[in-house]
Subunit: 132 residues, 2 copies
DNA sequence: GTTCTTGCAAATGTTTTGCAGCCCG
DNA sequence: CGGGCTGCAAAACATTTGCAAGAAC
Protein backbone atom coordinates (compact mmCIF):
# COMPACT_ATOMS: atom_id res chain seq x y z
CA UNK A 1 0.00 0.00 0.00
CA UNK A 2 1.36 3.37 -1.01
CA UNK A 3 1.57 6.11 1.54
CA UNK A 4 2.34 9.79 1.22
CA UNK A 5 5.17 10.96 3.43
CA UNK A 6 5.19 14.30 5.12
CA UNK A 7 8.71 15.34 4.27
CA UNK A 8 10.37 18.64 5.00
CA UNK A 9 10.48 19.34 1.28
CA UNK A 10 6.74 18.95 0.92
CA UNK A 11 6.06 21.18 3.91
CA UNK A 12 8.32 23.88 2.53
CA UNK A 13 6.72 23.85 -0.90
CA UNK A 14 3.23 24.06 0.55
CA UNK A 15 4.28 26.92 2.80
CA UNK A 16 5.82 28.87 -0.07
CA UNK A 17 2.61 28.49 -2.05
CA UNK A 18 0.42 29.55 0.84
CA UNK A 19 2.39 32.68 1.46
CA UNK A 20 2.12 34.19 -1.98
CA UNK A 21 -0.66 35.42 -4.22
CA UNK A 22 1.51 35.76 -7.29
CA UNK A 23 0.79 32.48 -9.14
CA UNK A 24 4.46 31.50 -9.11
CA UNK A 25 6.18 28.96 -11.32
CA UNK A 26 8.33 26.02 -10.23
CA UNK A 27 11.61 27.94 -10.51
CA UNK A 28 10.35 30.75 -8.30
CA UNK A 29 9.11 28.30 -5.71
CA UNK A 30 12.43 26.52 -5.88
CA UNK A 31 14.17 29.80 -5.11
CA UNK A 32 11.90 30.50 -2.16
CA UNK A 33 12.22 27.06 -0.66
CA UNK A 34 15.99 27.16 -0.93
CA UNK A 35 15.94 29.81 1.79
CA UNK A 36 15.08 27.17 4.36
CA UNK A 37 16.17 24.03 2.51
CA UNK A 38 19.24 25.05 0.56
CA UNK A 39 19.84 21.67 -1.04
CA UNK A 40 16.36 20.99 -2.41
CA UNK A 41 16.43 20.26 -6.11
CA UNK A 42 14.19 21.63 -8.80
CA UNK A 43 13.21 18.07 -9.68
CA UNK A 44 11.87 17.54 -6.19
CA UNK A 45 9.91 20.77 -6.42
CA UNK A 46 8.32 19.51 -9.61
CA UNK A 47 7.54 16.11 -8.08
CA UNK A 48 6.04 17.74 -5.01
CA UNK A 49 3.92 20.16 -7.02
CA UNK A 50 2.69 17.26 -9.07
CA UNK A 51 1.58 15.43 -5.95
CA UNK A 52 -0.15 18.54 -4.62
CA UNK A 53 -2.04 18.93 -7.87
CA UNK A 54 -3.13 15.31 -7.81
CA UNK A 55 -4.27 15.79 -4.21
CA UNK A 56 -6.41 18.73 -5.35
CA UNK A 57 -4.64 21.15 -3.01
CA UNK A 58 -3.11 23.19 -5.78
CA UNK A 59 -4.27 24.14 -9.25
CA UNK A 60 -2.31 25.12 -12.32
CA UNK A 61 -2.42 27.62 -15.13
CA UNK A 62 -0.69 25.99 -18.07
CA UNK A 63 0.59 27.61 -21.23
CA UNK A 64 2.54 26.01 -24.04
CA UNK A 65 6.17 27.00 -24.01
CA UNK A 66 5.73 28.86 -20.73
CA UNK A 67 6.43 27.64 -17.25
CA UNK A 68 3.34 26.31 -15.48
CA UNK A 69 2.02 28.64 -12.80
CA UNK A 70 0.79 27.22 -9.52
CA UNK A 71 -2.03 28.44 -7.34
CA UNK A 72 -2.81 27.26 -3.82
CA UNK A 73 -6.54 26.68 -3.37
CA UNK A 74 -7.31 28.76 -0.31
CA UNK A 75 -10.65 27.72 1.16
CA UNK A 76 -13.58 29.97 0.50
CA UNK A 77 -11.75 31.93 -2.13
CA UNK A 78 -12.78 30.20 -5.33
CA UNK A 79 -11.78 32.25 -8.31
CA UNK A 80 -11.04 32.14 -11.99
CA UNK A 81 -8.07 33.39 -13.93
CA UNK A 82 -7.43 36.14 -16.42
CA UNK A 83 -4.29 35.50 -18.45
CA UNK A 84 -2.41 37.99 -20.60
CA UNK A 85 -1.13 36.28 -23.70
CA UNK A 86 1.63 38.78 -24.14
CA UNK A 87 3.29 39.30 -20.78
CA UNK A 88 1.91 36.29 -18.96
CA UNK A 89 0.38 38.30 -16.13
CA UNK A 90 -2.33 36.43 -14.26
CA UNK A 91 -5.22 38.12 -12.46
CA UNK A 92 -7.92 36.60 -10.30
CA UNK A 93 -11.67 36.98 -10.74
CA UNK A 94 -13.87 35.98 -7.82
CA UNK A 95 -15.95 32.91 -8.68
CA UNK A 96 -19.39 34.43 -8.51
CA UNK A 97 -20.98 31.50 -10.22
CA UNK A 98 -18.72 28.52 -10.50
CA UNK A 99 -19.81 26.60 -13.58
CA UNK A 100 -20.77 23.14 -12.43
CA UNK A 101 -19.92 20.22 -14.66
CA UNK A 102 -22.55 20.41 -17.34
CA UNK A 103 -24.55 17.41 -18.30
CA UNK A 104 -22.95 15.81 -21.28
CA UNK A 105 -19.78 14.68 -19.58
CA UNK A 106 -18.45 11.41 -20.95
CA UNK A 107 -19.73 8.31 -19.14
CA UNK A 108 -17.91 7.82 -15.86
CA UNK A 109 -15.50 10.71 -16.26
CA UNK A 110 -14.12 11.79 -12.88
CA UNK A 111 -13.90 15.57 -12.80
CA UNK A 112 -11.13 16.76 -10.49
CA UNK A 113 -10.74 20.34 -11.53
CA UNK A 114 -12.87 22.95 -13.30
CA UNK A 115 -10.95 25.75 -14.96
CA UNK A 116 -12.43 28.93 -16.29
CA UNK A 117 -9.86 31.15 -17.93
CA UNK A 118 -10.14 34.44 -19.79
CA UNK A 119 -7.26 34.83 -22.19
CA UNK A 120 -6.44 38.09 -23.88
CA UNK A 121 -4.22 41.14 -23.66
CA UNK A 122 -3.82 43.33 -20.60
CA UNK A 123 -3.94 47.12 -20.66
CA UNK A 124 -0.21 47.65 -20.58
CA UNK A 125 0.43 45.23 -23.44
CA UNK A 126 -2.38 46.73 -25.53
CA UNK A 127 -0.77 50.13 -25.13
CA UNK A 128 2.63 48.71 -26.06
CA UNK A 129 1.17 47.11 -29.21
CA UNK A 130 -0.35 50.38 -30.38
CA UNK A 131 2.95 52.15 -30.04
CA UNK A 132 4.29 49.46 -32.36
CA UNK B 1 1.80 48.17 -42.20
CA UNK B 2 1.67 44.45 -41.59
CA UNK B 3 -0.53 42.32 -43.80
CA UNK B 4 -1.47 38.68 -43.54
CA UNK B 5 -0.76 36.70 -46.66
CA UNK B 6 -2.92 33.90 -47.86
CA UNK B 7 -0.22 31.37 -48.59
CA UNK B 8 -0.69 27.79 -49.67
CA UNK B 9 0.72 26.68 -46.33
CA UNK B 10 -1.88 28.63 -44.41
CA UNK B 11 -4.71 27.27 -46.55
CA UNK B 12 -3.52 23.73 -46.03
CA UNK B 13 -3.25 24.07 -42.26
CA UNK B 14 -6.74 25.56 -42.05
CA UNK B 15 -8.14 22.80 -44.21
CA UNK B 16 -6.54 20.07 -42.11
CA UNK B 17 -8.03 21.60 -38.99
CA UNK B 18 -11.49 21.94 -40.51
CA UNK B 19 -11.58 18.34 -41.59
CA UNK B 20 -10.96 16.74 -38.24
CA UNK B 21 -12.70 16.65 -34.91
CA UNK B 22 -9.82 15.04 -33.06
CA UNK B 23 -8.14 18.07 -31.46
CA UNK B 24 -4.83 17.35 -33.18
CA UNK B 25 -1.39 18.59 -32.21
CA UNK B 26 1.12 20.40 -34.42
CA UNK B 27 2.98 17.22 -35.39
CA UNK B 28 -0.22 15.50 -36.56
CA UNK B 29 -1.25 18.54 -38.56
CA UNK B 30 2.22 18.64 -40.06
CA UNK B 31 1.81 15.03 -41.17
CA UNK B 32 -1.58 15.75 -42.75
CA UNK B 33 -0.47 18.84 -44.57
CA UNK B 34 2.56 17.06 -45.98
CA UNK B 35 0.17 15.03 -48.11
CA UNK B 36 -0.48 18.06 -50.29
CA UNK B 37 2.56 20.16 -49.44
CA UNK B 38 5.40 17.68 -48.93
CA UNK B 39 8.04 20.24 -48.12
CA UNK B 40 6.24 22.23 -45.46
CA UNK B 41 8.22 22.44 -42.25
CA UNK B 42 7.04 21.91 -38.72
CA UNK B 43 8.23 25.40 -37.90
CA UNK B 44 5.87 26.86 -40.45
CA UNK B 45 3.02 24.81 -39.04
CA UNK B 46 3.73 26.29 -35.62
CA UNK B 47 3.94 29.81 -37.01
CA UNK B 48 0.71 29.37 -38.94
CA UNK B 49 -1.14 27.93 -35.97
CA UNK B 50 0.07 30.82 -33.91
CA UNK B 51 -1.36 33.29 -36.40
CA UNK B 52 -4.68 31.44 -36.52
CA UNK B 53 -4.92 31.56 -32.75
CA UNK B 54 -4.21 35.28 -32.73
CA UNK B 55 -6.89 35.74 -35.40
CA UNK B 56 -9.37 33.93 -33.16
CA UNK B 57 -10.05 31.24 -35.75
CA UNK B 58 -8.55 28.45 -33.73
CA UNK B 59 -8.37 27.75 -30.03
CA UNK B 60 -5.94 25.67 -28.02
CA UNK B 61 -5.92 23.19 -25.20
CA UNK B 62 -2.57 23.55 -23.49
CA UNK B 63 -0.92 21.19 -21.03
CA UNK B 64 2.53 21.46 -19.54
CA UNK B 65 4.97 19.02 -21.08
CA UNK B 66 2.37 17.86 -23.61
CA UNK B 67 1.95 19.01 -27.15
CA UNK B 68 -0.65 21.76 -27.52
CA UNK B 69 -3.89 20.56 -29.11
CA UNK B 70 -5.65 22.74 -31.66
CA UNK B 71 -9.34 23.13 -32.27
CA UNK B 72 -10.97 24.92 -35.19
CA UNK B 73 -13.84 27.14 -34.03
CA UNK B 74 -16.70 25.96 -36.23
CA UNK B 75 -19.48 28.52 -36.22
CA UNK B 76 -22.52 27.75 -34.12
CA UNK B 77 -20.79 24.89 -32.37
CA UNK B 78 -19.46 26.53 -29.24
CA UNK B 79 -18.29 23.94 -26.80
CA UNK B 80 -16.07 23.32 -23.82
CA UNK B 81 -13.45 20.69 -23.24
CA UNK B 82 -13.07 17.69 -21.01
CA UNK B 83 -9.44 16.65 -20.61
CA UNK B 84 -8.15 13.36 -19.24
CA UNK B 85 -5.04 13.98 -17.18
CA UNK B 86 -3.80 10.48 -17.69
CA UNK B 87 -4.18 9.64 -21.37
CA UNK B 88 -4.71 13.15 -22.71
CA UNK B 89 -8.02 12.34 -24.38
CA UNK B 90 -10.13 15.40 -25.10
CA UNK B 91 -13.93 15.38 -25.28
CA UNK B 92 -16.32 18.14 -26.23
CA UNK B 93 -19.23 19.41 -24.17
CA UNK B 94 -21.80 21.58 -25.92
CA UNK B 95 -21.72 25.13 -24.59
CA UNK B 96 -25.16 25.33 -23.10
CA UNK B 97 -24.34 28.42 -21.14
CA UNK B 98 -21.15 30.08 -22.23
CA UNK B 99 -19.79 31.92 -19.23
CA UNK B 100 -19.54 35.56 -20.16
CA UNK B 101 -16.63 37.58 -18.89
CA UNK B 102 -17.62 38.28 -15.32
CA UNK B 103 -17.49 41.74 -13.89
CA UNK B 104 -14.23 42.14 -12.11
CA UNK B 105 -11.98 41.94 -15.13
CA UNK B 106 -8.90 44.10 -14.83
CA UNK B 107 -9.32 47.65 -16.23
CA UNK B 108 -9.09 47.60 -20.01
CA UNK B 109 -8.29 43.92 -20.35
CA UNK B 110 -9.13 42.72 -23.88
CA UNK B 111 -10.67 39.24 -23.64
CA UNK B 112 -10.00 37.22 -26.77
CA UNK B 113 -10.83 33.74 -25.63
CA UNK B 114 -12.90 32.18 -22.85
CA UNK B 115 -11.92 28.66 -21.89
CA UNK B 116 -13.91 26.33 -19.72
CA UNK B 117 -12.16 23.04 -19.12
CA UNK B 118 -13.01 20.04 -16.98
CA UNK B 119 -9.87 18.16 -16.04
CA UNK B 120 -9.95 14.71 -14.54
CA UNK B 121 -9.65 11.04 -15.38
CA UNK B 122 -11.63 9.23 -18.05
CA UNK B 123 -13.37 5.90 -17.56
CA UNK B 124 -10.70 3.79 -19.17
CA UNK B 125 -7.91 5.36 -17.14
CA UNK B 126 -9.88 5.04 -13.90
CA UNK B 127 -10.30 1.35 -14.59
CA UNK B 128 -6.61 1.00 -15.37
CA UNK B 129 -5.69 2.72 -12.11
CA UNK B 130 -7.84 0.38 -10.04
CA UNK B 131 -6.20 -2.66 -11.58
CA UNK B 132 -2.91 -1.12 -10.41
C1' DG C 1 14.14 -2.66 8.08
C1' DT C 2 11.39 -1.46 4.24
C1' DT C 3 9.70 1.67 1.15
C1' DC C 4 9.08 6.10 -0.42
C1' DT C 5 11.66 10.29 -1.44
C1' DT C 6 15.51 13.03 -2.74
C1' DG C 7 19.53 15.04 -5.54
C1' DC C 8 21.91 14.93 -9.30
C1' DA C 9 22.41 15.00 -14.04
C1' DA C 10 21.17 13.49 -18.29
C1' DA C 11 17.46 12.94 -21.47
C1' DT C 12 13.11 14.09 -23.59
C1' DG C 13 10.02 16.63 -26.26
C1' DT C 14 7.89 20.87 -27.54
C1' DT C 15 8.26 25.25 -29.19
C1' DT C 16 11.12 29.15 -30.73
C1' DT C 17 14.45 31.49 -33.55
C1' DG C 18 18.19 33.19 -36.98
C1' DC C 19 18.96 33.48 -41.52
C1' DA C 20 19.11 33.21 -46.51
C1' DG C 21 16.10 32.58 -50.25
C1' DC C 22 11.26 32.57 -51.99
C1' DC C 23 6.72 34.12 -53.04
C1' DC C 24 2.47 36.74 -52.49
C1' DG C 25 0.22 40.97 -53.57
C1' DC D 1 9.71 44.83 -56.55
C1' DG D 2 9.40 44.67 -51.34
C1' DG D 3 8.31 42.84 -47.17
C1' DG D 4 6.33 39.25 -45.17
C1' DC D 5 6.85 33.78 -45.34
C1' DT D 6 9.17 29.58 -45.64
C1' DG D 7 12.62 25.72 -44.75
C1' DC D 8 16.20 24.30 -42.40
C1' DA D 9 18.69 23.41 -38.46
C1' DA D 10 20.09 24.79 -34.27
C1' DA D 11 18.85 26.56 -29.94
C1' DA D 12 16.12 27.36 -25.82
C1' DC D 13 13.35 25.74 -22.12
C1' DA D 14 10.31 23.32 -19.21
C1' DT D 15 9.59 19.03 -17.51
C1' DT D 16 10.62 14.11 -16.80
C1' DT D 17 13.34 10.22 -15.48
C1' DG D 18 17.04 6.67 -13.86
C1' DC D 19 19.61 5.62 -10.16
C1' DA D 20 22.12 5.39 -5.85
C1' DA D 21 21.88 7.36 -1.37
C1' DG D 22 19.00 9.23 2.33
C1' DA D 23 14.93 9.81 5.21
C1' DA D 24 10.16 8.43 6.96
C1' DC D 25 7.46 5.48 9.47
Amino acid sequence: MTMVRNTRQRQAVVQALRETHTHPDAAWIHGQVRATLPSISLGTVYRTLDALVRDGVVMTIERAGQATRYDYKHEGHGHHHVVCRTCGAIYDIPAEAVPMPASGLPQGFQVQDVRLEYHGVCTDCTRAEKRG
